[in-house]
Amino acid sequence: MSVTYLEAIRAAQEKALREDPRVFIYGQDVGEFGGAFKATKNLAKLFPGRVFDSPISEDAIVGVAVGAAIEGMRPIVEMQYADFSTCGFNQIVNQAATLFYRTGVKCPIVIRMPSGGTAGAGPFHSQSMEAIYAHYPGLIIMTPGTVEDAYSMLLEAVQIEDPVLFFEHKFLYYHLKAPALPTEALPAGKARIARAGRDATIVTYSAMLHESLAAAEILLEDGYELEVLDLRTVKPLDTDSILASVARTGRLLVVSEAWPWGGVAAEVIARVASEGLELLDAPPARINALDTPIPYHPNLWAAHRPTAATIAQAARKLLEL
């Protein structure tokens, strides 16, 4: 038996609903239908009245979640696609993210953000918005890249008493599999060494974890051993683990599927430059999506985002410096 990334998300929600009567799930088509990606399949049936459809009103959906959280509930919101969270942006960054600081009252909501590109999805069903939200104070930004993390981090997210944006990657939904659900997990905020190596560090997260691991395989053929660090959460960002890895390897490549300007890769490089300059044997590098809208055509899309091949190429360049 094996579990997919999507099944892990569904299972985590089922467990959260079962164990905590304060949890409910709200979003477009999440009820009877089980969600656009089936991440809430059967949950409406299992937990009558607690998993229900919203109108197409992202602003109100988030507002409802915040109000419910103030009154003691633990809402999980599903955005149908992260891209549509732009329509609920104001409530996320100005209502949810500021509540605790302004009032001292906690805002334990989870917003699930189906993110990232898949072939043919186009400019409005492919975005990686984690950097946008990480820029704002008051939010925790999770970006699980494994089945295990999808499960355990979502469960942790529901328990955290601050707003958590949970960026789950659509590309991993069906393809990524694990033998079983995990029974223990690293806490949020801690990065994980996904692959140990001595020649350079690739810092990455979410779907790019797998492209990076594949790139590491490619470079192994050249005799290079790359360390791959999975950030798991991009805010907080585990600066210590990044620095520790760079201290071992002396070289840093950051890989992110988001646009470059001010993204996770920029933030990671800025931190390493500021706090670990002397650790660097070569200039740190980054590889991001290209700085255009995400093209619809699979040919263009495949060139727009980083892939194992382009990551390997960038890593090779870094190693040769």
Partner: protein, 344 residues
């Protein structure tokens, strides 16, 4: 006329006790706001001051119909409603004057104050955004099996043009929540007149589009306001779904104390909309023999004295200290992201 019908004292929403209480709160709010204006002119308040003069009747009528356990998310011009709901002159002054002892601890202030743990929600500035939040709060109460409670919030004529208004009210209607939404049509959104804001006959015409009950009310008449809002809150409490009230009135001051209201249409000002709801209410109180002119005068003096004393006290209270401030946007410190390179 609605207001004549409402003057019927057998009307459950209109009895001496409630009316007098409402009137006294309006008076208190007015006097407190006059103090805020003078503190503003004196430079004691650094942020903006936005007052509810002329809107006290509509505002108090909502606040006074709420109970402990209800939810209330007031807006800019709701000093009267706030006080009816339990906010105090002391906390008002503390937030405006930046006292550390205020409910917002200097982090937010003025019209943005509240105590969410007590059902008193502080507005964010983005208009319309509180409607769905109150809807969510009511949903939570329903989950917890509470009945007979209501959630109330206010919006201006300008605020009805926001997407948030639309989405929030629609969600409340779909969920049949006990939401009471008071639309204060004071005919201006900052300087923008109604005809640049909407093209419908009355904002009340919006209600049918949500499947929401609606009452139109003369916002300068406390009688009307108490009656209509009392009925609306009652219906919401009884499970009849969201209730909208559209109050027609005029603010009698600029948008904020910095604004000279130069754009005010003289015709509107001279129309019945331009009448002062507090003066009208006082007249009613007196003509109905519920209080004498002297008593009203006396209350006015007492409130003014009280407010002056409070202001004096608050002005001596400690202000927030950035060194002591914890600078923490998360409740759970484990998840703080503060690398060395961020720190000062």
């Amino acid at each position: 006329m609605a207001s004549e019908a409402a003057a019927d004292c057998s009307n459950p929403f209109l009895n001496k006790e409630v009316y007098l209480r409402a009137y006294r709160i309006m008076l208190q709010a007015r006097i407190l706001e006059e103090k805020l204006a003078s503190l503003y002119r004196a430079g004691s308040i650094r942020g903006g001051v936005f007052l509810g003069k002329g809107q006290e009747a509509l505002s108090v009528a909502l606040g006074i119909n709420l109970r402990r356990g209800d939810i209330y998310a007031p807006l800019i011009r709701d000093q009267a409603g706030r006080m009816a709901f339990g906010d105090t002159a002391l906390d008002t002054l503390r937030t405006y004057l930046g006292s550390l002892l205020g409910s917002m601890r200097g982090r937010d202030g003025n019209i943005h104050r509240g105590r969410p743990a007590e059902g008193y929600y502080p507005m964010i500035s983005h208009l319309g955004a509180m409607i769905s939040v109150v809807a969510g709060a009511l949903l939570a109460r329903r989950f917890r099996g509470e009945t007979g409670i209501v959630g109330a919030t206010t919006i201006g004529d300008g605020g009805t043009s926001t997407g948030a208004f639309h989405e929030g009210l629609n969600v409340a209607a779909v969920e049949k929540l006990p939401l009471v939404l008071v639309v204060a049509n004071n005919h201006y959104a900052y300087s923008t007149p109604n005809m640049r804001q909407f093209a419908c006959r009355s904002l009340a015409d919006r209600a049918a589009g949500y499947g929401v009950a609606v009452r139109e009310v003369n916002g300068t008449s406390l009688d009307d306001c108490l009656h209509a809002i009392g009925a609306a809150v009652g219906d919401a409490r009884a499970g009849k779904g969201p209730q909208m009230i559209v109050g027609e009135l005029l603010r009698l001051v600029g948008h904020g104390e910095h604004d000279d209201f130069s754009y005010l249409d003289e015709k509107l000002k001279k129309s019945s909309l331009g009448r002062d709801c507090l003066a009208i209410a006082e007249e009613r109180v007196i003509s109905r023999g519920w209080a004498t002119k002297d008593e009203c005068q006396q209350w006015r003096k007492e409130f003014a004295l009280e407010v002056d004393e409070l202001a004096g006290k608050v002005l001596r209270e400690p202000q927030p200290d950035p060194i002591v401030e914890d600078w923490c946007a998360l409740s759970d410190k484990r998840f703080l992201d503060s690398p060395h390179c961020y720190k000062r």
